[in-house]
Each structure stands twice: as C-alpha cells, then as structure tokens.
Amino acid sequence: MIRHLLSAADLDRETATLVLDTAGQMDAAMAGREVKKLPTLRGRTVVNLFYEDSTRTRISFEAAAKRLSADVITFNAKGSSVSKGESLKDTALTLEAMGADAVVIRHSASGAPHRLSRWVSGSVLNAGDGTHEHPTQALLDAYTMRHRLGRLDGLNVAVVGDVLHSRVARSNVLLLHTLGANVTLVGPPTLLPVGVEGWPAEVSYDFDAVLPKHDVVMMLRVQRERMNDSYFPSAREHARRYGMDARRMAMLPEHAIVMHPGPMNRGMEITPEVADSPRSTIVEQVSNGVSVRMAVLYLMLGGSRPEEV
C-alpha cells in the first residue's frame, strides 16, 4: 500500500480496487454489530488537521478512525492564512513530536498536503486541498457507483458544473479513468480549466445531449459568488443550462444514478425533487464515506514501517 494519499493518481488500479474491496469488507464487518468499533488501530494516533471548515469530511474521518480505535486528535487551524500564527512547517514538526501515525489534512491551498508530506514521517491523507484534489471523496464515489451499478469498468460518468474549482472533479477524473470508467466533463467553458485537454476525459458544453448516454451524473457544487467573477451570468441561467431537474432526470437511462458530494445548493445545481429521489445516492455517499476512509486508514497504517522491520 502507498505511504501517502495525496492524489487519486497515487492509486493504481490494483490498489484502488483493494481499497474499494476492503471498504466493502469494513461495511460487512460493521453491519449489524452490537459494538460499532474494531480494535485494529488501537494505540495509533490520527491527527485531523483542518485549515478549512468541512464538518462533513472531518466527522467522516473522525468516525472512521474512531471505529478502528485509533486515538483521534482534531486540530482546527481555521483562520490561519498568510497572516497566520504558526506555519504549516512548524505545525508539522509539532505533529511529528506527538508521534502522529497519520495526518488527515484539509487546506485551502492546493498542494499543502504535498508540502506536509515532506516534513512528517507518518502518512499524510489529503482530505481536500484548495482547488486540487480530494481523493477519498473520489474513492467513496467510486464505491457508491460500484455498489449501485455493480461495476466501474466501462461505466459512463458525467461530472457536471464547476469543474475549474472542484477538487472532487479532479480526483474523480483520475480515479475513474484508472478504474476503467469513461468520464465526460460538462459545464460552461468558463468553468472548465484551460489545459483540461490533458485530462483523460471528454468535454461537453451541452448537458441535455450528454444525459441519455450516461449511467452516472455527478453534480458539483456551484457557488453563487462565482457569478460576481463573470463565470456565468446569473444563478437562474446556470440552473437552466447546467442544473439537474426532473426534466433532465427523465432523460437519463432507467438505471442511472445522480450523485452529489455535498453540500448541495438546492435550486442551483440540483432541484429538491432530484436530490430526494430514489436515483439520488447523496445519503449513501455519506455513509460509504466512513467505510472507505476506514479502509484507507487500515491499509495505510497497516503498512509496516521500515524501522520496525
């Protein structure tokens, strides 16, 4: 298993499949149990280092680590920025002194987990860095797809919305490609990055044309404030061109599912009737998140350290 999980590109097909399989076994191991806790990581320390608010991801990682009996230390460093008190490097040295076996880091700066990984000896897990990546989100999305549709190989997945600013999109494109799925990115050209032609994905500006051919539609969060930077003219226009509503849902194949990493902007990229429909996997994605993160922690912390061999 890999030492750090910084990018979905760190996972080859075999490793990614192992994570998904292990997540399934974690799910099974926890199902119907009296005690929702395994002793696997007893005595291990997992630090949640959150420089950015994300209740959902933080709680998910916390639950995963605690269900495996790791000691969890949550360090909310929010508000730290350029004018921060302690630098990331000093924080890293502190964590090192505390003997953190794994550091789960969420940061508003792209690449912060990569920097951290140079300064600590434990494993670093990227829980979302700036507009770069969010690999465990991609893993839980893949897990959810495989669970619902039975496979990933050959699956057609549309990722829709603000691809430019989305770490979820980057990680999903990489991981889904590794696992054999075909990804189509859909959004206004302003919200697709220059250089996207280097990604292993198709690009479309026409959501309606894409719908009938896809097994999965993954909606990305679109912040209203982007309107002020002229990424799109108005929330209404964006919703009309790239929002998921009942009309569009009806254009999907019978078996297709609709995903959203949360938190949703209801009425912006997704209407309530879609979000709450049986095709929506939004609630499952949350619970699958814990199993996938348990699997990642188990596999990464399970790897024997060189000095102990």
Partner: protein, 440 residues
C-alpha cells in the same frame, strides 16, 4: 593595487596579458610584465567585460532579513557582475530622490559592484500617480531606468505619460508586463500543469497583451521602453513585430527586452515534479513571477535571445527568507536567486549558439548601454575602466544553496551541476573576487 592577468582569452580572442593599474586597463598584449603587480594566472580562462544586471532585487531598505545591498553585491561579484540595477520595490519604495540616494550610497559603501538604483514609476508602486522621476534623475544616484517591477503599470494613460515624461532625461521605462485583471490569484503558468495541479493560472496573454499595448504606446510617443523578464513565445512574436515596425517607421522610439536565466532553463513541469534537490511537488522554490512556462516557451526565448529579438539576460534575482518559501505554494512569495548562477545557466543554454562574444553582448555590453553606465560593458583595452570578469569555461560546479553569498537560499538550481565558474572579478581595477572567493 595593480594586477597582471596572464594568458586570458579576451572574449573569443587569442590569449593575452592584461595589466590593470589605477582603476583602468593599462596595457593588453603578449608577454607583459610589471613590477609590483599581483600576477593572476589566467591560463585557459576567458576575460569578459564585467557583467551588468538590469534587474536585481537587493531588498534594502525594508527586508534586510532576505538580502542587503552588501550581501547582494557580494553575490553579484561572485557571479561575475560589476554593476547591478537595484529594483525599486523596497520598503520604503524607491520613489523619491532620498531613497535612491540611500541605496546608491549603500552600494558605494559595500564597494563590491556598482549599484545603480532604479526608480519607481508611480508613488508606492500603486500605479496611480507618477513618482518624482525628474528628481530621481537629477539626484546623486542619476536614475535612468524607472520601473514598478513586481507590479505592472497597467493604466495605459499613466504608462503613456511615464514614457513621455522620461524622454526629458533620456530615461527608460522598464515594464513588468502583467495585465492584473487577468492574473488575480494567479499561481503558475496557465496550461495543462495548472489544470492538473489545481493552481490558478497565469495566462501568457496577460503578458503579451501589455507588451503589445506598450510597444504601440512607445512607438506613438517616441520613447524608450524596456520589457522585463519576457517569458512566453507569444511575447517574442510581438516583440519581433514591434521592433521591425519601429525600425521601418524611423521613429525615435526604442524597445529593448530581457529574459531571465530561469525562463531559459526551467519549465512549469518543475512545479509538479520538483528536482533532485527539491523532490516532491508544489515546492515554492519554483514559484516566480512571471511564472515558469512550457518547453515551447523556453525554446522560443532561446531563439529570440540568439537572434536579437530579446536583447539581454537579466537575473530578476529575488531573495526571499525561508519563512516566505518553506510554506504552502499559494502563500509563498514569488522569486528566485539568480546572480551567482546566471552566467552558468547562459553558458549551459546559449554558449554553443552565441559564443563568448554573444554572452558579453547580452550580459554586459548591451545592458550597460540600456542602463547608460558607460564605465561598464567595455572590453579590456588600454584606457578602459577595469571592470571585468575571468571565467573558467571548463569548470563544472554543483550549486549548494547554503554556500551562496546571498542572505537567502531560494535557488531553484540546488544540487544541479552547471558549467563555467567565475574565477575573478575586478571592479574599477580592484579585485572583488579572486580564486572564486569574495575578497571581502
């Protein structure tokens, strides 16, 4: 003190002896001897006119923790330089006669290179109101180059006025070409790598649009324009067109431009993969403004430097403290050290194409003409001021960031083996570097 340099090849010429006395080159010829002169064995070395850097950040006053005039001067001397032009983005800004005179005086006190201050175009580099350009020009510092470097003079009206105004004292505006509305939050070159790394892109067009605009303005008002750190293939095309247009029209305007060593050698791929000494990605030692571009851009810049579309090499030596670099990419300050590695990088990337004569042109003679520093950029010849550098063309050395003379260590070349080493540097007849070591 007098020096007798034995057996140096003068630029691309034949080996000769050079006698330095009273700050000037006294004699050049074969088999010279001089009683009392210190003999410098220069067998196999190349004698170049002392290098002149049009673009140096010395950080003093304001950020003496990153660099001082003295430490920067020492780094320059070790890099073969005898003069540097100190950029105006200090704290306080070099936008008054008082500040440029202070920097000039600090340079004289250090006495390792000639420090020629550059004055700010606008007060506080804010791009709103012209600084007292005339007062700086007539001060003891005799400022000729004005620049808001670090910021673009983006307001076209202010830029036009600045270009016009400095004609009164043969000044030149050195533009940091970056349309600020296109680079809000920009972190690296906009392209495949930025898309992959999730860093906000700095599009090439933000540079090219300003160069095109300013070239037209300079032609319109007949002024001297210098473009700092040209970084894209598109900029080269625009400069090629603009220069030809000016020549054809016969107007008095003149456009010159510079390229940095790092834009000749490094690419945006370094952001994602680092280097041997800086493994891993997102290491801000590779963060610089304008950003590292693609391999096509470096190739176009080399071509342009060879064929004269780009006139000179300037370092954009930009020291930063460890705290400003050992951090998240997005929080790091842009800039790299350059003075001690510039010549080696130019040799590495250009020597085959331009020869030592071409190196002397692009790193000494032409920069001296642009800066109006007539004591510099002159080949060793009887009567010329003795500002020169001796270079070992056969040497190879490995860059050690901790061994550089700069107060900061932010060199992207750490661990890299480079060709050609500066053995000695002479400023006004006095050695500032001997045996590759600073005399002071």
């Amino acid at each position: 003190m007098s020096y007798l340099i034995k057996g140096a090849r003068i630029v691309d010429g034949e080996p000769a002896d050079i006698l330095i006395r009273d700050g000037k080159v006294a004699e050049v010829g074969a088999g010279l001897s001089a009683a009392g002169a210190a003999v410098v064995d220069a067998d196999g070395l190349v004698a170049l006119p002392g290098l002149l850097d049009l673009h140096t950040h010395l950080r003093e006053p304001g950020r003496e923790d990153a660099e001082t005039v003295e430490t920067g001067s020492r780094a320059a001397a070790l890099g073969g330089y005898t003069a540097v032009c100190a950029m105006a983005n200090t704290d306080p800004t070099a936008d008054t006669a008082g500040v440029v005179e202070q920097v000039h005086r600090l340079g004289q006190q250090a006495g390792l290179v000639e420090v020629q201050p550059i004055g700010a175009v606008s007060i506080g580099l804010k791009g709103e109101q012209l600084a007292e350009l005339g007062a700086m020009a007539t001060s003891a510092a005799k400022v000729r180059i004005f620049s808001d470097d670090g910021h673009c003079v983006s307001d076209p009206r202010l830029m036009r006025r600045a270009l016009e105004y400095v004609k009164a004292f043969d000044g030149v505006i050195a533009q940091h070409a970056e349309e600020p509305r296109l680079t809000i939050g920009a972190q690296m070159h906009e392209g495949r790598e930025s898309a992959r790394l999730g860093l906000t892109g700095w599009p090439a067009v933000a540079e090219e649009a300003i160069i095109a605009r300013d070239a037209l303005l300079a032609g319109h008002v007949g002024s001297r324009l210098h473009i700092c750190h040209v970084s894209t293939a598109g900029s080269v095309e625009i400069l090629r067109w603009a220069k030809a247009r000016l020549r054809a029209s016969g107007v008095t305007g003149r456009i010159t431009s510079e390229v940095t060593p790092h834009h000749l050698l490094l690419t945006d791929a370094q952001v994602g993969c680092g280097s041997d000494a800086h493994p891993g990605s997102y290491d801000p030692v590779f963060k610089v403004n304008p950003p590292l571009r693609t391999g096509e851009d470096t190739a176009a810049l080399r071509d342009a430097l060879a064929d004269g579309v780009i006139d000179v090499v300037a370092t954009d030596h930009a020291p930063h403290t460890v705290e400003d670099k050992e951090c998240e990419w997005g929080y790091a300050r842009p800039g790299m050290l350059g003075l001690q590695t510039a010549l080696s990088i130019v040799v590495e990337t250009m020597l085959e194409r331009i020869g030592w004569d071409g190196v002397a042109d692009r790193m000494s003679r032409v920069p001296a003409r642009i800066a109006g520093l007539s004591d510099h950029g002159r080949d060793p010849a009887p009567g010329a001021p003795a500002n020169l550098a001796l270079v070992d063309p056969a040497a190879r050395w490995t860059v050690d960031s901790t061994a550089l003379a700069s107060r900061s260590q932010n060199t992207p070349y750490a661990g890299m083996e480079l060709p050609a080493a500066v053995v000695a540097t002479f400023l006004a007849g006095e050695a500032t570097v001997l045996d590759g070591k600073a005399v002071r």
